[in-house]
């Protein structure tokens, strides 16, 4: 099926209405429509302004530490005995995850728009930390909305955000996780829309967010493409990334979408198992609907109520997914699969012990799948896995699961 797709197709989305095929759009309350229109105008202007690009690239180089290395995980590859596995080391970015690529970009937009107050939603706390970090650097007021449940399981990141000067606002409505944090951030934005910039942490939300977050994160794939050619003389045979909202995945995938020989796998959170219903895998087991400003695959019941999700990793515990992924699923360009809690935890230990790299639990889902995938491939082939973040934030969670007191 993918053979039929012209590479130009991928550059043509989203259309001017923010649609990726039937997905995306701007499903928000009227109060936010003019703010979104303003953001789009500013972004479209700045994204082709060489000075803005230079500013962004310079921040990525000197503040974030890009380019991030592409590292060949030889010991793991040998142990598996299939394809060579390379890791795109987003964990080595300042603040420890890919999230900062996007917050740097959006903070620059906020600066250009003269907004003095930024808000963000966060699940694992990585996006909250990355937002608090750029706010500290630019001297902006920062409020981070976080589900009360996530505040418990990501306490280290909560304290980090506070040290950075951000206010962390616990969200106690609904399931008390990422989706509810996003509801509350949207409510705040409606109220303080004049002076506030909302830094959305993933490729979800209303247009233009899925587009601009993708563009900021695509630096991952552009670098990986160059690095793959330099290190192996060819493009990778497959790409693997975990999918919460989908920002690290789209960041890696996007610059390769037109390369039809590069297979792609987005790994969702299978939780206790997709068949149990207790998971966070809308692309694997959901249906299209409208949430948080866009049409996309969702976990919902037969009445259109959004269902509670479950994942061991807070950053994947979200019932929706970026609209571009919904489209890429439907056209068959990307394969979406799931890894369960247990598989992710096993991978977390396996990679930590084999490569000396402790991945975030989100990332561990991608690694779990990559192990299986590599085993079915040959040593002349290679895979790039997006190592989206480091696992320090998850140490207490892992210890608690294993009944260890730290």
């Amino acid at each position: 099926m993918t053979e039929m797709i012209s590479p130009d197709l991928f550059a043509s989305v989203p259309d001017p209405d923010g649609r990726f095929g039937p997905y995306g759009g701007k499903f928000v309350a009227e109060t936010l429509m003019s703010a979104l229109a303003e953001l789009e105008v500013v972004y479209r202007g700045l994204s082709c302004d060489p000075d803005f690009q230079k500013e962004f690239d310079s921040d990525l180089a000197h503040y974030v530490g890009r380019p991030s290395p592409l590292y060949e995980a030889s010991r793991m590859s040998d142990a598996i005995g299939g394809a060579r596995i390379f890791l795109k080391r987003e964990d080595l970015n300042h603040t420890g995850a890919h999230k900062v690529n996007n917050t740097i970009g959006q903070a620059l937009l906020a600066k250009h728009m003269g907004k003095k107050r930024i808000i963000a939603e966060t699940g694992a706390g990585q996006h909250g930390v990355a937002s608090a970090t750029v706010a500290a650097r630019l001297g902006l007021e920062c409020h981070v909305f976080m589900g009360a449940e996530d505040i418990k399981r990501q306490s280290l990141n909560v304290y980090r955000m506070k040290l950075l000067g951000a206010e962390v606002i616990p969200v106690t409505s609904g399931s008390k996780t990422l989706k509810d944090a996003m509801n509350e951030a949207l409510r705040d934005w409606v109220t303080y829309v004049d002076n506030t910039f909302y830094i959305i942490g993933t490729v979800a939300g209303p247009h233009p967010y899925p587009m601009l977050v993708r563009d900021f994160q695509s630096v991952i794939g552009r670098e990986a493409r160059r690095q793959s050619l330099a290190m192996t003389g060819k493009l990778p045979d497959a790409l693997v990334a975990c999918v919460g909202g989908g920002s690290n995945a789209i960041g890696l995938f996007h610059p390769f979408l037109g390369d039809e020989k590069v297979a792609m796998y987005g790994v969702e959170a299978g939780g206790h198992g997709v068949e149990t219903g207790q998971h966070a895998a809308p692309l694997s087991a959901g249906t299209p609907g409208v949430l948080h400003g866009n049409r996309t695959y969702l976990m919902q019941d037969q009445n259109g109520q959004i269902m509670e999700t479950h994942s061991v990793s807070a950053g994947l515990d979200y019932p929706g997914v970026g609209p571009e992924h919904s489209w890429l699923k439907d056209i068959g360009r990307v394969n979406y699969v799931a890894a369960n809690d247990d598989e992710a935890l096993t991978a977390f230990h396996h990679w930590t012990r084999t490569e000396g790299i402790m991945p975030a639990l989100e990332t561990a889902h991608a690694l779990a799948y990559a192990e299986k995938l590599a085993a079915d491939m040959t040593p002349d082939q290679h895979i790039i896995v997006n190592l989206s973040g480091r696992g320090d934030k998850d140490i207490l969670t892992v210890a608690a699961i294993e009944g260890i007191e730290v």
């Binding site: 759009g25 701007k26 499903f27 109060t31 429509m33 003019s34 409606v190 409208v290 949430l291 259109g304």
Partner: protein, 271 residues
């Protein structure tokens, strides 16, 4: 034609304003909703707004959010909300009912099925908070087939040049959101409201009702003087829940909300 246009014409002819209560269907109980709607009509409501509970009510403040949560705990679905409208219609064929909610339950039911079910139940209008004109085309086609009005929100942040785009898609009435923020929040500035209503009136002859931030007879009359109607939601739900939390029975809690609506009716009629 739905019941809305004749309703507003009658009001206009007699120099009266519409008083529009909002409650969440199934809050606090499934059985209380239809009787409460009848009581609100008896207290002077001209149009009824019935909230469709949703798991993620992004534009609601805490008071109405809790209402949605209580209704969902009672397992109230969109189908059941429409059943309530049908039940209400058995005792009242006159008072227009507008259902207000979020896009996803409607998406899930499917636009054509939804429009047909609304018509069968006796719904007159629809407000979908997260379906701006840009996204409403396919739904509007279905609603127009069954003559159900689609009511749009216009807010203080709506640029003047956008008002025409909204009114072009709207029928029934225009809902002006008086404050930037969620339901039940904020402080209403009536001079600012007046200015915006002038901008809207330059684009449409549809009646304009104002909501968000109306709490009592005083705020209702301040706005009622300029608009064709007022919407009161959070204040009613808050009155009811506060009463019940401090020991009132369900019946007494509802009656306190009904009394508040009555005082708003009296205030507006005597302004």
């Amino acid at each position: 034609m739905s019941r809305l246009t004749p309703c507003f014409e009658t009001l206009r002819d007699s120099g009266r304003k519409a008083v529009i209560p909002y409650i969440v269907a199934g809050d606090p109980t499934v059985a209380s909703t239809v009787p409460m709607l009848h009581r609100l009509v008896a207290a002077g409501a001209n149009v009824l707004e019935l909230g469709v509970p949703f798991s993620d009510p992004m534009s609601e403040g805490p008071v109405i959010q809790r209402g949605h949560e209580r209704a969902l705990a009672n397992h109230v679905s969109l189908t059941q909300v429409l059943d309530m409208v049908a039940e209400f219609r058995q005792g009242d064929q006159v008072t227009p009912i507008v259902i207000m909610g979020y896009a996803n339950p409607v998406e899930r039911m499917g636009y054509a099925d939804f429009a047909a079910a609304c018509a069968a139940a006796g719904v007159d209008g629809l407000i979908t908070v997260d379906l701006p004109p840009e996204e409403v085309g396919p739904l509007n086609v279905e609603l127009q087939k069954v003559a159900i009005d689609n009511i749009f929100l216009i807010s203080p942040t709506t640029p003047a040049q956008r008002v025409g785009t909204i009114t072009a898609n709207a029928s029934g009435f225009i809902y002006y959101v008086a404050v930037k923020g969620v339901t039940g929040a904020g402080h209403l500035d009536s001079s600012d409201v007046g200015m915006h209503l002038d901008v809207i009136r330059a684009e449409t002859t549809l009646p304009i009702c104002v909501g968000f931030g109306i709490k009592d007879a005083e705020s209702a009359t301040a706005v009622g003087a300029m608009a064709d109607g007022v919407v009161v939601g959070s204040a009613l739900i808050d009155t009811m829940t506060v009463a019940m939390e401090s020991g009132d029975s369900l019946h007494d809690g509802i009656e306190k909300a009904v009394t508040l609506l009555g005082s708003i009716r009296t205030g507006i009629d005597n302004m």
